[in-house]
């Protein structure tokens, strides 16, 4: 294509669009390519977005009618065994007042579309239904644009931003990032179940625009290293469950079997009863952590978002890391364009910015967490069973003295998780999040 741009962005997800908004605001000629028919059609996330990082890009996102499903005022954690489980929640009114929109639920199809529309309004050109198949290079091997699957589909750009997600076939093809190993990736499936808003409000004890999130661990992932979640939307629930890809391969459990069993857990059933499945989608999650990250910049290009493996599994943060990295990439690009230096050196500020920010700081802090979960399967088998047993016995009033009970519980517990094992677990767990 004859027309050239300052920046070409691959992927119209949160990372790519955040960059596009910042760039367009600065008057940079930006084109964004999206392989889906519309931004968001190929995306999936559990469904929680953090207002802080969105506000860094669009401070007036509420006035711009961001499609917010529910504002989260309560977060719960469930630790489940087969037929029972623990439930711990924290509700705080402040999340409805001064810290409103700290976290809120979204649906990707609506949100991504709206977000891309904001970039479009600022002047970025969003091109859907178009796949970027390769990068253009000059004789020195520097990236000078992209090549798409359409005829006359080569577009010159001074800087290219790769923001094409966890699968990023482009990163693999160009060698910027190795194809992630199965143990660094999780496979997640999600169902959106329709439920009238009044029912949701009743079942979760909220009103109006308020919502609840439930993060779930335990035996629910069939013994595999994984997590599940239930989030409340306006008039639907997002149910997601996923596990480490290597574990899936070993266990031969099918993803849809996992979610079907999930929906039948006694603690889940009352929440979803009567709901109609509306949508079903599967996706990968980047779980490699800090050590699986590729180099995020080079001659003429930058990498942001999931494509750079920016994902914090423990705190379910992905969208915000994508947005923050997209913004930082844009800022670095603007500087580079001013100086006319799009070489590796010229774009190095991006990596510095990332390292100085919470993005890399958090990634580093939790770099061992993914491995910890993966290597300690007791967390998903014996430990939930033992804990459930403990609670069950302690809560049963059957004439047995509490001391006796205690002895019994400890004995059973030790059977499942020997003391040595438990101590090691705690030690590793502590190290993993330190």
């Amino acid at each position: 294509m004859k027309e050239a741009f300052d920046v070409a962005i691959v992927g119209a997800g949160p990372a790519g669009i955040s960059a596009a908004c910042i760039l367009a605001d600065a008057g940079v000629r930006t084109i964004v390519f999206e392989r889906g028919e519309y931004p968001g059609s190929k995306n999936m996330s559990g469904g929680v977005l953090y207002g802080h990082d969105l506000a860094q890009v669009l401070p007036d996102y509420v006035e711009r009618k961001c499609p917010i499903e529910r504002n989260i005022i309560e977060s719960r954690i469930w630790y489940l065994s087969k037929e029972s489980g623990y439930n711990i929640g924290y509700r705080d009114g402040i999340f409805g007042t001064t810290r409103k929109h700290n976290a809120f639920t979204i649906t990707r199809a609506k949100f991504d579309r709206w977000y891309a529309e904001q970039a479009h309004k600022k002047g970025a050109l969003i091109v859907p239904s178009t796949v970027v198949v390769d990068l253009l290079r000059d004789e020195k091997g520097r990236v000078v644009g992209v090549s798409t699957g359409r005829e006359q589909g080569e577009v010159q750009a001074k800087v290219t931003l790769l923001a094409d997600g966890i699968n990023s076939p482009l990163a693999t093809r160009t060698g910027f990032r190795a194809e992630p190993k199965p143990e660094f990736v999780a496979l997640a499936v999600k169902e959106i179940l329709e439920l009238p808003s009044a029912t949701i409000e009743q079942r979760f004890g909220v009103s109006g625009e308020e919502g609840v999130t439930i993060e779930i661990l335990g035996e629910i992932t069939g013994g595999m290293d994984g997590v599940a979640a239930i989030y409340t939307n306006r008039n639907s629930l997002s149910l997601s469950i996923g596990a480490n890809l290597a574990d899936f391969a070993a266990s031969k459990i099918k993803p849809y079997e996992l979610i079907e069993a999930f929906k039948q857990h006694p603690m889940v059933v009352p929440l979803i009863s009567g709901a109609h499945p509306r949508e079903y989608i599967a996706h990968w999650l980047a779980e490699g952590g800090y050590d699986a990250m590729p180099a995020v910049y080079g001659n003429g290009y930058l990498i942001a978002g999931d494509s750079a493996m920016l994902f914090n599994a423990l705190h379910r943060e992905g969208n915000n890391l994508a947005m923050a990295s997209g913004k930082m990439a844009a800022e670095s690009i603007i500087e580079a364009l001013k100086r006319g230096d799009y070489s590796r050196k010229g774009l190095a500020r991006y990596a510095e910015r990332l390292a100085d920010s919470y993005v890399i700081k958090d990634m580093k802090k939790y770099r061992r967490f993914g491995r910890f979960l993966y290597q300690n399967k007791e967390l998903f088998n014996e430990l939930p069973r033992a804990s459930s047993l403990a609670a069950r016995e302690m809560l049963t009033v059957n004439g047995v003295s509490k001391k006796e009970k205690q002895k019994l519980i400890v004995k059973e517990f030790r059977k499942q998780v020997p003391l040595r094992r438990l101590l090691r677990l705690l030690w590793h767990g502590w190290r993993a999040i330190r």
Binding site: E194, P196, S197, A198, N235
Partner: protein
């Protein structure tokens, strides 16, 4: 009647009755209606109590009690007193100098409808040298055949046929006009309905009469869901409907039936008409027309297996019938499209329909629900086809069908030897 805080009478929507068509949302002049949880909801504080939502709701889900008559707005046709229109007319389609079977099927149905209305059945026949066909139409139940016989009507041209039919409708004033949903019928029906500014409901699967209101009740599946809709055309005439071949039962010919044949003049359109340069017939299809088979063995999605076809064909042959299929089998390339039964394929009504691993999606059901006896072979007892079948065999067809064939062969043998020993 609910009131809002200002004391005004406001409307209210019954969520259970609301079908989510959103007509009320569009109609409300003050935007008081919003969709919530898939159904419409009135904001009483915004509502001004005009009742437009009540007027527009097709399923009477709106509670509104201001004394109002339902407005019937005219749309271009000068409202004639409706009782000027009498009679049930059927368009007789001519194909290779013969009457199309769908036309006779429609005459059968017309007889039933006319009976409920205590009125007559008319045939509208256009053609050249079509008198023998007019006589045949009488034997299929026409009380009067209105015939327009003219060389210009030898080949179908939209303008020419359209003009002739519009003239007929204006002269004869039938209250109902039925056409077969063939390529010609569809085109022609639309031309007539547009020129007469009347309502046309296409691809109806059921026709009935509301004798009290003297209305034609036209039933057809709504797209995508397991839902049927009944449609009416209240204040425009004729009420028009197209019906697919094979949906209505072929009536018995009655050579003794008395009927009149009236010839009408035809005034050719003045403008230059298109001319047909040639006609290329398609090769007669290999294999029989599944619409005529008395027994149909239909392969479904669960039998999408090239290896299964010979077995199913054998079963069909044994029972003196043909093999058909549902859409996935055609998509898999195992059988040609001419064998497809369903909304986008053929509509069939055999004496015996045997669905082998057919789940029974609504688009398939509408194409075969007129079958006299339905037998379903399926592993899933909750499959829709099993629910409506007369006989259902639950199990793997790969085991059942061979045993069925054996069992039938054995009984045929016994029957034959009994016959021989008589």
């Amino acid at each position: 009647m609910p009131k809002n805080s200002k004391g005004r009478d406001v409307s209210e929507i019954i969520p259970d009755k609301c079908i989510g068509c959103q007509l009320c949302v569009a109609e409300c002049p003050v935007g008081a209606i919003e969709m919530q949880g898939g159904v419409a909801k009135v904001d009483p504080e915004v509502c001004i109590g005009c009742g437009k939502c009540f007027d527009v709701c097709p399923v009477e889900a709106v509670i509104f009690e201001k004394p109002r008559k339902k407005k019937l707005t005219g749309i271009g046709q000068k409202p004639r007193p409706l009782d000027e229109y009498q009679g049930v007319a059927v368009f007789i389609e001519v194909r290779a100098s013969k009457g199309a079977e769908v036309s006779w099927e429609l005459l059968g149905k017309a007889r039933e409808l006319a009976g409920k209305l205590s009125t007559q059945v008319f045939g509208f026949l256009l053609g050249s040298g079509a008198e023998p066909l007019a006589k045949e139409a009488v034997t299929y139940g026409c009380d009067i055949v209105y015939m327009v016989d003219n060389p210009l009507l030898q080949t179908y041209l939209s303008r020419v046929y359209g003009k002739a039919m519009v003239n007929l409708c204006e002269q004869v004033k039938p209250e109902i006009l039925l056409l077969g949903a063939t390529p010609q019928g569809r085109d022609l029906a639309s031309v007539i309905a547009t020129q007469l500014e009347t309502g046309l409901t296409a691809d109806c699967t059921g026709l009935d009469i509301d004798a009290q209101e003297r209305l034609l009740l036209m039933t057809r599946p709504t797209f995508g869901g397991n839902i049927m809709a009944t449609i009416v055309c209240r204040s425009h005439r004729p009420q028009m409907s197209t019906v697919r071949p094979g949906v209505m039962k072929m009536p018995k010919r009655d050579p003794q039936h008395q009927g009149e044949i009236r010839n009408l003049d035809f005034e050719a359109p003045k403008e230059a008409l298109p001319r047909v340069i040639d006609f290329v017939p398609i090769a007669p299809e290999v294999g029989e027309d599944i619409g005529r088979a008395p027994v149909l063995v239909v392969a479904g999605k669960g039998a999408c297996d090239a290896g299964a076809m010979p077995m199913l064909e054998k079963l069909a042959e044994l029972m003196g019938g043909a093999i058909g299929c549902s859409r996935p089998v055609v998509q898999a390339g195992l059988l040609p499209y001419t064998r497809q039964v369903g909304q986008t394929g053929r509509t069939v009504s055999p004496k015996i329909y045997i669905g082998v691993a057919v789940s029974g999606a609504v688009q398939h059901l509408v194409g075969m629900q007129g079958s006299e006896k339905i037998i379903a072979i399926n592993t899933d007892r909750h499959a829709p086809l099993v629910q409506i079948a007369d006989y259902a065999l639950i199990g793997d067809y790969r085991e059942i069908v061979p045993k069925l064939i054996k069992g039938l062969e054995a009984r045929i043998q016994t029957f034959k030897s009994k016959e021989n020993s008589k």
